[in-house]
């Protein structure tokens, strides 16, 4: 891959990140206006003097709007992501402890859903139009139509009656403490998230596989007298894998921002729950910094996916 392309792409990404930062500021600072800082007057009693000062610097209080932006930017770059008005904790710290939970959830979900999705997709593609294909595709349709919160609620209710398991924010077991304990809490939410993921991955696998199977070069391979196994692996699967890998990467990115509901229902202290609590309590520093953080992560994940795609597909390496 040419360095020039990489350079151009990075410049583009930086531009996008700048735009993202501006948009977050406009939406979450300028739009709500003074509502943002209103609580500083009433509930700042929780905060120490330094926390209050840090927060005021973060918001750029009493400054014209664009100076508020630069003040905010400056705070971010020096690691001051604001202070939570409710708890007094530094937002940076809150994000830092919530991040691993969400990442673990996302990774688990991808690990569970990818093999299942690919297997189902190939199953459906092996006899297109027949019963198994229709069955798998219907499952896919339902998987995407049934809302996460419905599945999650049902699962939680089932767990409650079967195992007397009630999600409770205080009893989260980090993976560092006990792997088994942690997994017993993370597995169910991961399964819930997997339903939608499996549906998407399955659909992509099916169409990628079918398309690869009916290509001219597969006919050429047959014409050369190649063994079917070789054709399936080196020609069909290899070509089909590119869109599949791409979609898995993209789904991972979406998971980073999309675990809110599951984290809420299963009481997992991840980024989604942090964000939601911030919104409900109107703790704007938390909301602003969390949204920005997740958006930046999303952009970086997408950049990674794009570069991976170009590395895998020689046709895309030019430019």
């Amino acid at each position: 891959m040419t360095w020039r392309y990489l350079g151009a792409r990075l410049v583009g990404t930086v531009g996008t990140l700048v735009g993202v930062t501006v948009l977050v500021f406009v939406v979450l600072r300028a739009l709500p206006g003074d509502a943002v800082t209103a609580k500083l007057g009433t509930e700042s009693g929780v905060l120490t003097a330094e926390q209050l000062a840090a927060l005021e610097r973060y918001y750029g209080i009493d400054q014209p709007m664009w100076q508020q932006f630069t003040s905010w930017l400056g705070s971010l770059l020096t690691g001051n992501l604001g202070v939570s008005v409710d708890s007094g904790a530094s937002v940076g710290g809150l994000i830092w402890s919530a991040l691993p939970v969400t990442v673990e959830l996302a990774v688990l979900s991808i690990l569970v859903s990818t093999p299942v999705g690919i297997a189902l997709g190939m199953l459906a593609a092996s006899r297109p139009g027949r019963a198994r294909d229709v069955g798998v595709q219907s499952f896919g349709l339902f998987g995407l139509a049934v809302p996460e919160f419905v599945i999650a609620s049902v699962v939680v209710a089932a767990l409650a009656s079967a195992f007397s398991y009630f999600p409770d924010p205080g009893s989260f077991v980090p993976v560092t403490e006990s792997v088994v304990g942690n997994l017993s809490q993370m597995l169910y939410p991961a399964l819930v998230l997997s339903v939608g993921l499996v549906a998407t991955i399955m659909r992509t696998t099916r169409s990628a596989y079918l398309e690869a199977q009916s290509t001219d070069f597969v006919r050429t391979a047959r014409g050369k007298g190649l063994a079917p196994r070789r054709i399936r692996l080196r020609h069909v699967l290899h070509n089909a894998s590119i869109p599949i890998v791409t979609i898995v990467g993209i789904q991972f990115g979406y998971l980073l921002g999309g675990t809110v509901i599951v984290e809420q229902i299963f009481a997992l202290p991840g980024l989604g729950r942090l964000l939601l609590t911030g919104i409900l309590r109107q703790d704007y520093a938390v909301v602003q910094s969390t949204v920005l953080f997740v958006a930046v992560a999303f952009v970086l994940v997408n950049l990674l996916v794009d570069l991976t795609y170009r590395a895998l597909d020689p046709r895309a390496r030019l430019r």
Binding site: K224, G225, L226, R230, H238
Partner: protein, 326 residues
């Protein structure tokens, strides 16, 4: 036709499953190809020429299958072999190249590897496969084959890709090479180069060529014998020169007549074959060509004529050339 037939197709019948019923698309095609001979298979789109080739190779798509006839290669009935047996024959004794080299090559594999792959499938291993592959790439006129072998298909030009396909096909020195309109998508000058290459290979290796095309100029360039197909059947077959001089079937005459003369200031309006090729699923009764045929007589809609000896050729027509009205 000199010598024993190398490839012998008798009464080949193929159907395509469409909308719940089987539509016959190859309706009793027979032909022989001798070793080292160049035969052209000519016809419009829909005449069944590609499907004939795919039937011979055993490469029909899911929806199609052979329902009758035999295919013999050097006396051996390859049509009755099981899939494993056919795989052994494909690529090593009978090979095929296709119309669009861009889609016919795996975009994710280097071209050298694709040639090697074919060799390895038939028992040539490792270093020997590599060197033979590079040798084959050189034989088809590609410059610096060791370097070019490391290229991906999209990095090559259309002509180069087609040469790669030919290299892939002839690497194992097959006895028969079937070419399905390989030059249709290429520039005229490249077309000529590829034709010359194929002809050279034929002469130097004794390989038989079956060249499928709708372009009579290509036929003139490369073919010793010609088979004209219409609506799934062979309607005329004979030595190329004789066929061009005096076609025995009105369809062939129509095809030849519609070539504009290159020289001459007088340009009468081009004669056309009126009408359109029939829907293979709904053929007219009797001779499939009769609705468009200027020589049509009363017998034509009643019965489909078989190939009969007409002058130097075989033609499937009720009306001999002497009786044609102009």
């Amino acid at each position: 036709m000199t010598g024993e037939a190398l490839l012998s197709v008798r009464d080949l019948q193929t159907v395509v499953r469409s909308g719940g019923s089987d539509v016959p698309v190859v309706r009793g095609v027979s032909f022989d190809v001798a070793a080292g001979e160049a035969v052209a298979l000519v016809g419009e789109s829909g005449s069944g020429k590609s499907l004939t080739a795919l039937s011979v190779m055993g490469l029909l798509p899911e929806a199609a299958r052979v329902t009758g006839g035999t295919v013999r290669l050097a006396g051996e009935d390859i049509g009755s072999l099981d899939e494993a047996g056919r795989r052994k024959v494909r690529g090593s004794r009978i090979a095929m190249i296709y119309q669009d080299p861009m889609t016919a090559l795996n975009p994710l594999m280097r071209v050298g590897a694709q040639v090697v792959e074919g060799l390895e499938a038939h028992g040539v291993r490792g270093a020997q496969a590599r060197s033979r592959a590079i040798e084959a790439l050189g034989e088809v006129g590609l410059p610096r084959p060791e370097r070019l072998a490391r290229s991906y298909p999209h990095e090559l030009s259309g002509g180069q890709r087609q040469r790669v396909m030919i290299a892939m096909a002839v690497a194992l020195r097959p006895q028969v090479l079937i070419a399905d309109e390989p030059t249709t998508a290429l520039d005229v000058t490249i077309q000529q180069q590829v034709l010359a290459l194929a002809d050279d290979l034929r002469r130097s290796t004794g390989m038989a060529l079956v060249w499928i095309t709708h372009d009579l100029g290509v036929v003139a360039r490369i073919a010793e014998r010609v088979l004209v197909m219409y609506a799934g059947r062979v309607v005329e077959s004979g030595v190329a020169r004789e066929l061009f001089r005096a076609p025995q079937h009105p369809y062939t005459a129509g095809l030849l007549g519609s070539i504009p003369p290159v020289l001459g200031s007088e340009r009468p309006p081009l004669p056309q074959i009126g009408g359109a090729p029939p829907d293979i699923g709904r053929l007219p009764s009797g001779c499939a060509f009769h609705p468009r045929c200027p020589q049509r007589v009363a017998t034509c809609p009643e019965a489909e004529p078989a190939l009969q000896r007409r002058d130097h050729d075989l033609a499937a027509c009720w009306v001999p050339r002497e009786k044609w009205v102009s």
